[in-house]
Symmetry: C2
């Protein structure tokens, strides 16, 4: 018996199951995209870092390393683009916001080769190069965010939220590396640079807390190792030193290179956490698809059996109550078998929905932040990065949490 010969109630019940399976299959593609995006983010962070130190210190020994890292990033980019080609064929399954984020990434990637040439030929300011890389990295993180926000499976959604928070925290650590290079290269840190480092620290704390809220035990263990390693203490010592500098009491510019290398070691170690999260995502996704497939198969078998029983005269009533309108269940009341099945499915879908709600709540604050940023970009005609810094400074100056500043801005009439 094909699904189409079944009674409509069973057909729709199976369609609901099949739809869940298809959502998971779409999610598998999205997870692959997320994996490629997080690899590219790491490569671009390294490339941005080496660009900074090359432009900041003028030390040509970073040039070869930069070119190597650019090549690595180009390979990651090619893998991401290949993955997008596969996604493209199935785009109708995807969500407009995810597709729009991908469009932004692709557009910014198109500008990358020009930037690379300008960096190697030293025709661009460090700050501008950093800004362009950061914009692109931000757009890749937005893809991971949308993937987490639209995932239909609670376990996968949780893993994606952990990954997004982690990548976001790591990106702030990468920005801190850049800010430090600027300060040490010029020999001192002014109030603006120090404030920026503090903001980035605060942001990292929030992001890594969000990561820990959603991560599995193994990810947490790898993270603990990263936190315990020696380079972190040395970075702290350089931070203390940075605070004591001034234009009249500068430090050696060579510290920029030490700061850069310590931070790079730390960021590379962090990537092990991201790699674990991505691998766990892949395993989990495959397992969920297997479960859903098995579940659909067993439901299909059960439905066929119920439908066939219904056709044989003299069998207990399953549909229509045509033979004997007053059964045990009472006239017109649906008999147990199918109704139980349907109610169990309703209950399960309720639970899935409630679980998804929990992880999505964790992303809600970030969405409000995005909206507040958009508001500032329009009202003050600021570019995105500056709107973000403006928000962080408002929070710092008024001594309230960033989330509270966001709420106040959105509460004002637009």
């Amino acid at each position: 018996m094909s699904d189409h010969q079944m009674p409509p109630a069973l057909r729709f019940m199976l369609a609901a199951r099949r739809c869940e399976l298809q959502q998971l299959e779409g999610l598998a593609l999205t997870c692959e995209l997320v994996e490629r995006a997080s690899e590219l983010v790491h490569d671009l962070q390294r490339e941005r870092g080496f660009s900074n130190v090359l432009l900041g210190t003028g030390n040509d020994r970073y040039r070869t390393a930069l070119e190597q890292h650019s090549t690595t990033a180009r390979h990651s980019e090619a893998r991401l683009r290949a993955c997008l080609e596969a996604l493209d064929a199935r785009v109708t399954q995807e969500r407009p916001r995810l597709l729009n984020r991908i469009a932004c990434v692709l557009h910014l990637l198109d500008g990358l080769s020009g930037l690379r040439r300008a960096i190697v030929e030293r025709r661009v300011q460090m700050q501008q190069a950093t800004g362009t890389f950061s914009h692109l990295i931000g757009s890749l993180l937005a893809v991971i965010f949308e993937a987490a926000d639209t995932a239909s499976d609670p376990g996968l959604s949780r893993a994606l939220v952990a990954l997004f928070n982690f990548m976001q925290g790591k990106e702030l650590a990468g920005q801190a590396r850049a800010v430090g290079v600027v300060g040490f290269a010029q020999g001192y840190f002014d109030q603006d640079l120090l404030a920026r480092l503090d903001e980035l620290d605060g942001g990292q704390l929030r992001c890594f807390a969000g990561f820990l809220d959603h991560a599995d035990a193994r990810a947490v263990a790898i993270w603990d190792e990263v936190q315990g390693c020696a380079s972190r203490q040395q970075i702290e010592q350089l931070r203390t030193m940075a605070r004591r500098t001034s234009p009249t009491t500068p430090v050696e510019g060579v510290l920029a290179e030490l700061w850069f290398e310590l931070n790079t070691r730390r960021l590379d170690a962090m990537q092990a956490v991201a790699q674990h999260l991505v691998a766990a995502l892949r395993t989990r996704c495959a397992a969920s698809i297997r479960d859903a497939q098995a579940d659909l198969d067993s439901h299909r078998k059960l439905s066929r059996r119920l439908a066939e029983l219904d056709r044989e005269p003299g069998q207990p009533l399953l549909f229509g109550l045509a033979a004997n309108p007053v059964s045990d269940a009472g006239p017109g009341e649906a008999p147990a078998g199918i109704l139980d099945l349907l109610q169990a499915q309703t209950r399960r879908l309720h639970e899935v929905e409630a679980e998804l709600q929990e992880t999505r709540q964790a992303l809600a604050e970030r969405k409000l932040l995005e909206r507040a940023k958009q508001r500032l970009m329009e009202q003050l005609a600021l570019p995105e990065a500056e709107a973000h810094q403006h928000l962080q400074r408002l929070a710092m100056r008024s001594g309230v949490a960033l989330a509270e500043v966001v709420r106040r801005i959105l509460a004002q009439p637009g």
Copy 2:
């Protein structure tokens, strides 16, 4: 130039737009389903009412009317099933929860003919008949709920929330009609019946407030007319009378018929509100599709123009910065045209998301109620309707809002 020859960034941007259009087209089918479901709900409410009064009063003059109303309901059912056939072919676009709710409706509809025979032959208790009809009506309302909860267009989502709240309130009014028939038919109202009427009143107030929060001005105007009509005052007078009855001071059983007819007049008048909401939904959906189509067309034209400019040498840079890596925008920075387009789309999608969040919030309380009900059904092995009444009574006895009772139940470890 076909979409596929375009640069990937533009292709994904168009895919995002196309995806929004497809969601709207799917929503048009869902709106049709909602229209059919709300018609069938009205017919079943009337059929339930006439079944009640026939079984409660034993007056055979209701029998012919009942048979007429059953025929009407059968026609509405056939129209709903035809609409589901069309939906079935496109199910992959739909959501599992909606499909599961449809499966429940179809299953319960299969039991209807048996119930109808049992009612006409008076082989079933009034309460059991009412319960079975109410269960089916509840499952149809759940379809409207899911449609509202998964709608991707804020305007349509708002209209669906208004409709759902209204239909829910009307259903409680229909249940009040049934409770009144029981009391007047036996000549008096005990504490349980009076408490039930009060609960249903409270529920109606909440539902109609939710309707008014989301309805358009015309719907509100029609509702004001319904509220001002004479039958409502007469119903109030009967309510006052009901409160004074007791087993020793009963009223005439014939009042059951008066109560029934006044309430039926009121419920029929209410249906005009639902009809307006459904018609507005249809108009709005068609307009949204037209807008999205026009929008996609103009974006496609614009994208082609941008893509062609990009291919002509000597034109201002649009992609890749291949010709001149240092443009006004700075090396590697994306030039204005396309980035503006993408950012505008991001902003718009943010706004849509924020607006949708507002209406979905309005449904969140109802979802929590469903979960609390499920919890009670499992823990106390209660059927759905009784779990609901149990919740309402807990609220009444402890003198707190229903939402608060729900929160307390869900806060307990499952």
